[in-house]
């Protein structure tokens, strides 16, 4: 019996877990942006000319929703200045010249006792700069701490439902024991008896391997899931594993569940057992501009240009750089931008992947309705968006859309549905922020 949710689509997966992990040689210069998480940006702790070691903390912010940032190579700080960020804009970054020695400065591994102490684990998760490495990049320590006492079902996300990406699958195959230990740590930190590990059945080899290692000894149950996008969406994952539906506008912790991704659990293992902060991850480099897919163990701060060269260079001129999977991934604007903690994939797309039409016309087929995992009605939402009727758009629950892209993917007329809803959401968010600022200003004035 495989578990799942209603709706969803079946994209062409193009996954290549058969290609083993390649270690990408660290670049001569790494660019490490001070924003690699949701929340307060880090302040640089180093200055131009400083010598840093691999794993040394170079950015921090004491705010609760934040995560420190570490040097991914050893060497000399060349500059502390704004550089192109993968998500757009110029962001304060630390540029380090790699001395090629990789002199480590890791933290002490946790002791046996500390490994059983939720507070010590959470402290370490924070110190090691662990964020949601599925792509959301929400500070993990804050997320787990917020769920303590509320959460009775811990869900580990092993769906990896995005096409192309192989990082989670390869982590399961190559480091199964470490992964289980990492999940156990999250379970202890969350204060729950059992963790449920949802894995799509296209990774049957990984499911068998993990089951053979007696996950029950770690307090883990493997839950096989149907192969369907967006199975790895937080709300879909909770629905599939626990049967509970997260309320509109709510968080999974509202129904007593918390979702942590596979890669995050592995990073937590490294942080606690090895003292290693988040400085590298598996990045799937693929797309028709490249000759072949590469599953590269890549340091944080590797520029895309260098990454492409290491993966055999371009055979065709790329038109798009997509960060993450192609369904929810966003486009980078510069070849000089680096990979960050949340970069699960870098896809170099050409015209081949592009299905653009000049004059998209809705044929009212309703195929967007059947696939929407949030049970929305994109066809009407788009109609109101096109009219500029934002009030109606809100009535149709546009804020519930989590931009999974299923409607746009499935649209035979190639309507820019997800684009429209994202635009509308950004507008609503900006409006709300403005009103909040106004209210606060009024309060101040009263004082």
């Amino acid at each position: 019996m495989t578990h799942t949710f209603k709706g969803g689509v079946h994209p062409n997966y193009r996954k290549r877990p058969d290609i083993p992990i390649t270690v990408i040689t660290p670049p001569p210069q790494v660019v490490i942006p001070m924003i690699q998480h949701i929340g307060a940006p880090c302040k640089p702790l180093v200055q131009k000319g400083d010598l840093v070691k691999m794993g040394q903390k170079i950015g921090e912010n004491p705010a609760p929703v934040s995560a420190p940032i570490h040097a991914s190579v050893s060497g000399k700080v060349l500059a502390v200045e704004p550089r192109p960020h993968p998500l757009g804009d110029m962001i304060m970054s630390v540029v380090i010249e790699n001395d090629g020695l990789d002199t480590p400065a890791y933290m002490e591994p946790l002791t046996e006792e500390q490994l059983k102490d939720p507070d010590a684990i959470l402290e370490r998760i924070r110190e090691a700069g662990v964020v949601g490495m599925g792509g959301a990049m929400f500070p993990t320590a804050f997320k787990i701490r917020g769920g303590v006492g509320k959460v009775d079902k811990l869900v580990i996300n092993g769906a990896e439902c995005e096409p192309y990406l192989n990082g989670d699958h390869l982590t399961m195959l190559n480091f199964p024991e470490q992964l289980l230990k990492g999940i156990e740590l999250v379970r202890i930190a969350s204060g729950v008896e059992k963790a449920y590990y949802g894995i799509e059945v296209n990774k049957q080899d990984a499911i068998d391997l993990l089951n053979s290692l007696h996950p029950e000894n770690y307090g883990i149950e493997i839950v096989p899931e149907k192969v369907k996008y967006p199975q790895g969406g937080e709300k879909m994952q909770v629905k599939a594993v626990t049967g509970r539906e997260v309320k509109p506008g709510g968080l999974p912790s509202g129904v007593g569940a918390n979702v942590v991704s596979t890669r995050t659990c592995y990073a937590i293992y490294q942080a606690c057992y090895e003292g290693k902060p988040v400085i590298e991850r598996i990045v799937t480099v693929a797309g028709s501009a490249l000759k072949d897919t590469v599953n590269g163990l890549t340091r944080v701060g590797t520029p895309f240009e260098y990454l492409a060269e290491q993966c055999g260079g371009f055979v065709k001129t790329p038109r798009k750089i997509v960060l993450g999977g192609p369904m929810m991934g966003i486009c980078a604007t510069s070849f000089a931008a680096p990979t960050i903690k949340g970069t699960s994939g870098v896809l170099f797309f050409t015209e081949e992947e592009d299905k653009h039409v000049d004059e998209p016309t809705c044929i009212r087929c309703g195929k967007c309705i059947t696939v929407c995992p949030m049970k929305l009605e994109p066809v009407f939402m788009y109609m109101h968006y096109a009219k500029g009727d934002y009030e109606m758009l809100e009535k149709y629950h546009v804020m519930d859309c989590f931009e999974c892209g299923s409607c746009s993917f499935n649209c035979p007329a190639r309507m820019p549905l997800t684009h429209a809803f994202k635009t509308a959401k950004l507008m609503f968010q900006a409006k709300a922020a403005k009103e909040k600022a106004k209210a606060e200003a009024a309060k101040e004035a009263k004082k």
């Binding site: 539906e245 070849f335 087929c365 931009e403």
Partner: protein
């Protein structure tokens, strides 16, 4: 190397960055494919003249689509093949003995008036092919109602080679039912080109459902309603089960349910709305067949329901993910309470 890359201008787009291969053109192509068995049966039973009629209908529909868009300085849309589908469907609803110029007039009304004047694909509120047929029925009633006997029945006693009565006519006018159910299933009966063979239509319809071009909801609720109502009320001097089967297999029900009522632009998109829409089509069909002056009612039933499609959609919005039945009940109760409070306050 660096210089070369500088010149690459990167595209930026919101997600998703990939799309399904199934586009509008592919969907229309599937519908055309699904109709080919019916076309084959028509040619087999009524000869090559049917091909002339179909060609005239399709070519004129495509021409009107092209010309109308050209005249109004709009983009060329014949590539999406929707005009081909309209032309083909229109031809299949006509009598096999129809002169070739009749469907050309029907295509003009379907494409120019019903489809393009309302904005083209996806914007029309009536099914173009059926509206075209209704227009022709009003304009050339005699030509439209004359059905020749199929090749299979030539020379059979009691069958006039030029004007045979369709099974539904026989039922309506109390004639003796001379067609066995097997002939109706295979398509050895007089009738419109595309409606005679239930087998060919079922093949095409199943193909469309399996390929997810159409959903099962409309055809199943449409045919199911007709079957249920005719089974309950009976008539025509035959057993109830036979009467039900004659009603399902005879006339344009299968063609209408699989290919006409499922037209995207003119049917509801909400899931429950589709069930109601199909049931409405079925109920009106049965009403017309029992009480109307015509023996056949599928096309008018669908056209009438077309007009209700948008209204039906308004009434069947579903609740979004995360809203449980209890939430809906709680909301209803809260509304009731507010109403009562308002009433009391008014007192």
């Amino acid at each position: 190397m660096n210089e070369k890359k500088e010149r690459i201008i990167l595209d930026v787009a919101y997600q998703p960055q990939v799309r399904t291969n199934i586009d509008t053109r592919r969907l229309m192509l599937s519908v055309i494919l699904a109709l080919l068995p019916s076309v084959g049966v028509a040619v087999w039973q009524f000869g090559l003249h049917t091909l002339v009629v179909i060609a005239a209908s399709v070519l004129s529909a495509v021409f009107f689509e092209w010309a109308m868009r050209k005249l109004r300085k709009q983009s060329n849309t014949i590539g999406d093949l929707s005009a081909v589908v309209t032309g083909l469907l229109l031809a299949l609803t006509l009598s096999p003995s129809i002169p070739w110029w009749v469907p050309v007039i029907g295509s003009f009304f379907a494409i120019v008036v019903v489809k393009q004047l309302y904005g083209g694909i996806g914007k029309n509120f009536l099914n173009p092919a059926l509206a075209g047929r209704a227009f022709l029925l009003a304009s050339y009633a005699v030509l439209m109602a004359r059905f020749p006997a199929p090749a299979h029945l030539a020379g059979v006693e009691g069958v006039d080679a030029f004007t045979a009565a369709t099974p539904l006519n026989l039922l309506k006018n109390g004639g003796e039912m001379i067609f066995p159910l097997k002939s109706m299933f295979l398509g050895l009966i007089p009738g419109a080109m595309g409606e005679i063979s239930a087998l060919a239509l079922l093949l095409g319809g199943l193909y469309l459902i399996l390929r997810k071009v159409i959903s099962w909801r409309i055809p199943v609720s449409f045919i199911g309603t007709v079957a249920l109502l005719t089974l309950i009320f009976g008539g025509g001097g035959v057993s109830r089960v036979d009467f039900m089967l004659y009603n399902v297999l005879g006339g344009g029900l299968l063609l209408g349910a699989f290919f006409m009522a499922t037209d995207y632009a003119t049917s509801p998109v909400t899931l429950k709305g589709q069930l109601l829409y199909g049931a409405g089509c079925g109920a009106i069909t049965v009403l017309i067949r029992y009480f109307g002056s015509n023996a056949e009612g599928v096309s008018y039933a669908i056209l009438l329901m077309n007009l209700c499609a948008w209204a039906i959609d308004k009434g069947f919005h579903r609740h979004q993910f995360g809203v449980s039945k209890e939430d809906i009940q709680a909301e209803k109760d809260a509304k009731k309470k507010a109403k009562q409070a308002a009433k009391e306050a008014a007192k």
